[in-house]
Symmetry: C2
Subunit: 747 residues, 2 copies
């Protein structure tokens, strides 16, 4: 009765594949255009599709459902094999980006280029590989992380804090950027300190006599902890430690510290490393702990773009420290920016995967009927539409803002590199870029927190919408959730990030109330703080409406102004920002939702950028936009009413009816809408969500494959059960209840 | 630098144990009284404590953190061992309940009592063991389930649907209730049908010639699926199948079908069984699939309390079917009632475990400080209080309603058994008990759904509040969540249960509007539907206030009436209940929250029932009650404003300020409040949450124990990494870029 059997193939049983295929044939929606919209352009769409194809067809990189039965050691080994494979793709991708395959070996050239005669390795060179990595995250996030820690965190720590020479040396000459020579980990967090980086306790004490630093872990709580790659794979670590020079503590700086010999993988003396063991998810990452016992490194291993230790020129004289405080701190944390920006992109891709599974199951699954009728498809129940459709809208609304943020991140970092390089140093530029970086911190923090939370919810809600099958590991939700939710905690806990981003927004609001607004920097994501708009909202000239498309973004701008005004008044009374922290977290969420709607609106509203020409398709995309906005207005109707954006009657008579009207409309296109993400089965790895829609056969076959039936005859632990079920009474009448075995022993 | 080391034990490092112990010594709260309140009486408190002690000290039943590193096969084997152990406790517990240890072996007597001369095995006999099982659920939920399916679902299916003789035979004589002779599984769900039990497809066709039934799985979708115990351990299955007699389909009835020989564990002919494989959690349960290929069972194996097949007395004559439609369906599903009721109790216990971990970490963990000051405890941040304290309040508010529901369940089922037994048959009683059962369905559905969702949120929020350490498997959140969330899906999907419960409530509301209200049955959980109260709310005589303690329950009653009135109007217009399904789900949640507050209020308000005599302790317990109510009013402030229970200004000026005032007050007692759950470390299995508060040493030691450091010198997969990092360039200049190995092959 498995797929290959012919028993009752034409019985009364459901035919989900016909339902799902039927929705495809019945729709005129242009799936390719939507995909170009989501991937930001037709060119990028094609590039993405080609990379996805390469991933799912590579014999080592491809991932199938056997992954759901793997334990920690197997996941670790599989991940290591994939990394080793990825290193070859990386060389190839850099050569492709530079169109340099002949004559000389580009990678060798770059490594040998000690005098920097060739153009330095830049973000554009890595763009293909970065995208490959981002797509890989979708089928195997732990692989993405275990490589991302090396390339992203370790690499960006060096890029953000190293001098041009140091960047060139570590990343290019030593080969780190090519996954050659060294493999890095990122030594920020300690057992005692996560969010509060400024209070880390690892010490790097300068030794004037030998011109070196001694790294020291002073106590258990200063143990570097959660360090991805430390347990098994890293040879070097970018260590965040207190710089101590001549007895003075200069705060946290960054140092490259060798951990293991890259040829033998033996630990260097003084370095103690261990595995922190099993985690909720991503067990393919070898997170570890590190303790330093008097580990000595040359002075040159301190990353010195903004802070330098200058040895005394006279023997026995005092060493000096030179630092550029303006950028020192912000650049210190800049390594985390890349992670946050990428997590917004991850949110788009990861969310879309579960949207597909949830949608196909909702269309293919039938349950309950009126007497005599065939059972209804789940998606035709209004409750199911409510549970599923807004979750599908989430990745749609993430995409435009994710691409926008990524572009902004690269351009700002390039600018920082340029204005802070000796040859092109620019003091004014430095001051501007530092403000741009601060805005990028606010936006990326708010978007990272909001979107990683939204996608946790997407996975959880859609899992529940698939009933029992959602709880089966083979349908991807379990592992997906376990792997995903760490994104809400690492590289900035979502609550802390939201809080700090909202505090900055509240400051900008206070400035705006005094008429201060930086039009050149703040007119995009902070446009709701333009003083005339704020005044218009607060004087009641500008009120919420939902008549035009842009209103669906603007209501959030109005809500933000009123919300911030409420908060400003509360803080005036209490003088205590922390007391309103719960509300501040919501401000950050509102800010993110506004940015998402704004980016989506701007893109779809511009035919040049949207790449959508088909009218019905465009209408559908606007429906998604309105659905998303209305869903969250309704979800936050408490705040919308409390801050008098809408009256209670407007919620009942306008917001909710408009929302409920949209659901059956969007439902019509649920299959094209999720087909449009264009993820092949090999990226979904959930048989209830495969393209052909043959839900039950696909799922049952997967189960048979992973759990062959021949073991059913003599089930595991049968001995324990037969022993238990056939046990005799251990009771002896003669001695009034003593157990027999005791009596036997007494004889 | 581990616990045993003496390095820097007195460094500047944090001392969480001093902070946590300090809060204990500084508090006058009476933890014992609170525990008696939570456990429902001092006697039950003592019983619970004794059972917990036995569990955590039993060499086989105890669970330590090594469980977090176990794969599926190890979890299965461990669970089987524990079941075998539990069987012995069960005999002992029944003997204890009957105070029968001497003279004869009680279990043997009961099994041999074929003529029912002894008092039949009843719920009271099993009460100690049931509690033991419920407590075991807290450290190892999969064990609880794997036993619960046999005793609860299989057993209750027989109890609810079998004749007295059948009950006696299967449960007592065959030994099922003693975990002897047979081990049962519960064959309800099929691959194609979960929620819609009425459309199950497995067929049981009556054969008049042999007076038997033939069980048949007609197609793949009719495969019994998700059946706990089927893959490995069950010998018998209570199968839900369509009764076909003389060509007529009588709908779903229940049958006991032998699967395996209990002595050899070989499958019987025609029975095909397989493992459904890896799940998000509870992998110790051997969920399986079953297909029946012409499996023949005697007519007597159909459970026939309410439906009987009567063979023709004349050869070749027609068999007849006699059925009591009134109770047939409701009793058919009654096996699920026990599960739902127990899940409410599980919510109390499981929630309390994570409340303890979250509280101790929040008090012991310090992060961020003003310059020069020592870092603040997390719990002293208002945002952290907001994140943690309402979650701790959840298990407090679950406890009273859980005990109340359990009592009601047992008394109603006893009544049903009595009035439907031939000797004590009572037609009027049957009609009353059937209405009581319906109410129990409404309440248990609403409470099961709401509380299992609330506890998912408790685990998720508290995990996030523990930052990175919350993501480590050793701190219990990961596995806890994975094991827990299936409670939101199985034995009635939460959304479907909420919907059906709210539809019944809406019907009761409509009746109340016509003046119909059953005071004898509905005055407890449906008291808000008393016609005078409904009128008073809708005419504005009764308005929401928060001045007295009982108001914190009453506002929910008012909100429910207004909410239902809004819905009734919507349905009047649309004539379609499904279109307002999203709102109905919320009605069910409001109903549950009201029931919880009501049960808590009634208990604490009665000195006889609360067992609380200390004034400060009582005040604290009232603060918890108010905190819970305010937290959820604020969370649902959208509905409270939309339905005009509170105005926007009341939310800003009354609800939120009262709520924010309570947080720092309750914060003072967070350690006593969670100590009061009285769960020993062996039931917590999360080193950051142990009683002594030595968070960092406990955690680091656990990691060292599960991940010995001696493997660090030659890390796993070092060969792959050295090969990758030291790879040479595969490029040959001569042929303009072909890789060297290719050139060699060409030569």
């Amino acid at each position: 009765m498995t797929r290959s059997s012919t028993v009752n193939q034409e019985s009364t049983a459901f035919k989900p594949e016909k339902l799902i295929q039927g929705e495809r044939f019945g729709s005129s929606i242009n799936v390719d255009e939507i995909n170009a919209f989501l991937e930001s352009s037709p060119e990028k769409r094609d590039e993405t599709q080609a990379l996805i194809q390469e991933i799912v067809e590579d014999p080592i990189l491809k991932t199938d459902s056997s992954i759901y039965d793997k334990g920690k050691p197997e996941e670790r080994a599989m991940t290591a094999r994939k990394i080793s494979r990825l290193a070859l793709y990386m060389e190839h991708d850099i050569k492709t980006a530079r169109k340099h395959f002949k004559g000389t070996d580009l990678i060798e050239e770059l490594q040998k280029d000690t005098e920097s005669k060739l153009p330095a390795l830049n973000n554009k060179d890595l763009s293909i590989f970065d995208k490959r990595l981002s797509l890989l995250h979708n089928i195997d996030p732990q692989l993405g992380t275990r490589v991302g820690v090396h390339l992203g965190l370790f690499g960006n720590c060096i890029k953000g804090n190293g001098t041009n020479e140091q960047i060139h040396y570590w990343l290019q000459e030593r080969g780190s950027s090519f996954m050659k020579g060294i493999y890095g980990c990122f030594g920020m967090t300690e057992l005692g300190h996560g969010s509060n980086v400024a209070r880390l306790q690892t010490r790097a004490t300068y030794n004037p006599s030998s011109d070196t630093f001694t790294l020291q872990t002073p106590d258990l709580l200063a143990t570097k902890f959660w360090i991805g790659g430390a347990a098994n794979s890293a040879t070097h670590c970018s260590v965040y430690a207190r710089l101590i020079v001549e007895g003075r503590d200069y705060g946290i700086k960054t140092f490259v510290v060798p951990l293991r010999n890259p040829e033998t993988f033996q630990l260097f003396p003084g370095v103690a490393v261990g595995d922190i063991g099993h985690k909720m998810g991503r067990n393919g990452i070898d997170n570890g702990w590190i303790q330093f016992h008097h580990v000595v490194i040359p002075r040159e291993y301190m990353l010195s773009r903004f802070t330098q230790v200058i040895p005394s020129k006279t023997p026995g004289g005092k060493a000096a420290v030179r630092t550029q405080p303006q950028l020192d701190q912000i650049s210190g944390y800049s390594a985390l920016l890349s992670g946050r920006v990428n997590m917004v992109m991850d949110s788009f891709r990861f969310g879309s995967k579960f949207a597909i599974i949830g949608a196909r199951y909702a269309v293919g699954r039938q349950q309950f009927a009126n007497a005599g009728q065939s059972e209804s498809q789940l998606i035709d129940y209004p409750l199911h539409q409510y549970r599923v459709l807004p979750q599908i809208a989430v990745p749609y609304l993430v995409s435009p803002v994710a691409f926008k943020l990524l572009d902004r991140y690269y351009s700002t970092l390039d600018e920082l590199y340029r204005v802070s390089s000796p040859a092109t140093f620019d003091e004014t530029g430095l001051s501007i870029v530092s403000r741009k970086l601060k805005n990028l911190f606010i936006d990326s923090a708010s978007l990272k927190a909001t979107n990683t939370w939204l996608v946790s919810e997407v996975i959880d809600q859609l899992r529940q919408s698939c009933g029992g099958q959602g709880y089966s590991s083979y349908n991807a939700f379990g592992k997906g959730y376990e792997d995903w939710v760490v994104q809400c905690t690492w590289e900035g806990d979502n609550n802390i990030l939201s809080l700090s981003s909202a505090k900055s927004i509240l400051k900008k609001f206070a400035a705006s109330r005094r008429g201060i607004f930086d039009r050149s920097l703040d007119s995009s994501s902070f446009n709701y703080l333009e003083p005339p708009f704020v005044r218009a909202v607060l004087t009641g000239q500008e009120t919420a409406s939902l008549s035009q498309l842009q209103d669906y973004t603007k209501v959030w701008a109005i809500a933000l102004v009123k919300f911030l005004n409420h908060l400003a008044k509360l803080v005036d009374v209490t003088k205590d920002l922390d007391s309103v922290a719960k509300l501040l977290v919501l401000v950050s969420k509102f800010h993110a939702l506004h940015s998402m709607l704004q980016a989506y609106y701007e893109k779809l509203n511009s035919p040049k950028n949207s790449h959508v020409t088909d009218a019905a398709t465009e209408t559908l995309l606007w429906d998604i936009y309105r659905l998303f906005s209305l869903f969250f207005i309704d979800k936050h109707s408490g705040e919308f009413q409390q801050f008098k954006v809408f009256t209670p009657d407007q919620i009942s008579q306008t917001v909710q009816p408009k929302f409920f009207e949209l659901l059956p409309k969007v439902r019509e296109s649920i299959i094209p809408l999720t087909d449009a993400f264009k993820l092949p089965d090999g990226m979904i790895n959930a048989p209830i969500g495969y393209f052909d829609g043959d839900i039950y056969h696909n799922y049952f076959n997967e189960i048979l494959q992973q759990n062959p039936v021949d073991s059913a005859d003599t089930p595991p632990c049968a001995d324990l059960f037969t022993r238990m079920l056939n046990r005799r009474s251990e009771f002896h009448y003669v001695f009034g209840g003593s157990v027999e075995t005791e009596l036997i022993n007494k004889k």
